[in-house]
Symmetry: C2
Subunit: 294 residues, 2 copies
């Protein structure tokens, strides 16, 4: 078996395996010969996938969970697996950081610290608050585990209702009593623009929207138009990167992180575990897991 | 029965009770006559307790958990109960906000947002990290509940070892492998100066100390002397308030909140529940709970 990894550190991680490991970072021409698996670099845009020869790569293993742009660029015949199980926990952790920053107003304490000012103020916090969590997949489950200890009332919403999960059609009624809404849905035709002007208008003053799914789930202009009536704490944006002159940067009660949900330094450990499982499956003649484009 | 509360809003909250409720905010002379309970204002310094006539107040009910300065000011014969069960959850919540701000470097994203800069960077996060939690009382228990879902290895330390709790004498050995230490101990003779130069020197580079107990548990100069080698995310300080010219404000990787652990706006609901329990106990001829100075 022959695989490629993005750098020498990755080759060292896999030194114990009985296979040929070459370094290819996706920015240079594809190496000669056949690759059973190409571990795609985390920080190279999916546009670079357009240049590969899919007949000579058994599986492109991505390091990201989202893959909405992969289908557009991967040549016909290519096979791409996303990184299930790698980022969900780290992304849920960032969602909690965003939610706590917004509801304990940590950003305002940061402003005061820059001015060396001791400025106490009250904040709503999470205890006894109603948190509407939209999406009960990988990130949603990790969010539920983290939210469980905070004394909030967590209301789960998903496209299909089930035990303890409300259907998305009940959402309008649930928003009017929400103190915070956390968005953890995949980007699909039915979630594009989910958080629009109507959605925001139903939320009470001072409610907070946290988005760790994809930027296009939220209509950015609608958030800007609220002018800070609703808090917005988000890791993903439309457009992304958010350009320096975008109005959103300075809307009050807006907290911006630059799409770093998965960028916990424990990530490589989890990618390695995933890659080793995939190699094991291929060596055993099994289909790889998590193939999302083929 | 006759009680005093700090403002008219408090009187309205208790309007259903069959007793005389007068308004006294502690900053004016004590009202004539006997008070079974005086609900002490949250934001009036304990120094004002020095002016009361303890023979005419059955119980001073504080709204804070800490009471280390009450003993100094309450006249002999006075009886003071602290606010057990009111702040522990909110303080643990702020500790989580501080811990996540430090370990996901939310402060640096805040800096970047001010400059409208999209600046990705990695951060250690909590998944798989070793968190040493010192103190397993009210705040410590609430912290354990909140930490449980984050995928960290939580190591509990208390003055007395027991099942799953290490004794404080084991602390030096535990610090060398800690990614974060959260301080949730009361201020006692044995915890004053617990986090000193020796303590900090044992921590690996980049570890984070979170303090939500009392300022004097940490030797501030020792933190300053580390110069940012250790992250310090704290709600309490020695001195407090931290003066504008204090060096700590600008030590790298320092996150400062101005003693707002209990300042979640859900606090009044919990103080009310405590006050009603105390009134009920007194009406039934029982001793009040949580009397810490008498």
């Amino acid at each position: 078996m022959r695989i490629s990894v993005p750098d020498a550190a990755w080759r060292d991680r896999l030194a114990d395996l009985d296979l040929e490991v070459i370094v290819w970072d996706g920015s240079t021409p594809q190496p000669d010969g056949y690759l059973d698996v190409a571990l795609w670099p985390y920080d190279v845009a999916p546009t670079a996938l357009a240049g590969i020869d899919p007949s000579r790569i058994g599986l492109v293993q991505g390091q990201s969970l989202g893959y909405d742009s992969v289908r557009e660029f991967l040549p016909a015949g290519g096979r791409y697996a996303n990184a299930v199980g790698v980022h969900e926990g780290a992304t849920a952790e960032l969602a909690m950081a965003l939610l706590l920053t917004a509801t304990r107003r940590m950003d305002e304490f940061g402003d005061a610290q820059r001015e060396r000012t001791w400025a106490k103020h009250w904040a709503p916090g999470l205890i006894g608050r109603r948190i509407v969590l939209i999406g009960v997949g990988g990130i949603g489950s990790e969010l539920m585990a983290r939210l469980a200890g905070f004394g909030a009332v967590v209301v789960n919403v998903a496209s299909t209702p089930r035990d303890d999960v409300h259907g998305i059609d009940e959402l309008p009624a649930l928003l009017s009593s929400a103190d915070a809404v956390v968005i953890a849905v995949p980007l699909t035709e039915s979630t594009v623009g989910l958080v629009d002007a109507d959605f925001l208008a139903r939320l009470p003053d001072g409610a907070v929207v946290v988005n760790v799914s994809r930027g296009k789930v939220v209509v950015t202009d609608a958030v800007v138009a609220e002018g800070g009536r609703i808090g917005f704490a988000s890791d993903v944006f439309d457009p992304e990167p958010l350009p320096p002159d975008h109005l959103l940067w300075t809307v009050p009660h807006t907290i911006i992180t630059p799409h770093v949900g998965g960028m916990s330094s424990s990530m490589a450990t989890r990618v390695e575990a995933l890659l080793r499982r995939q190699i094991g499956r291929l060596a055993a003649g099994q289909e790889p897991d998590h193939v999302v484009v083929a």
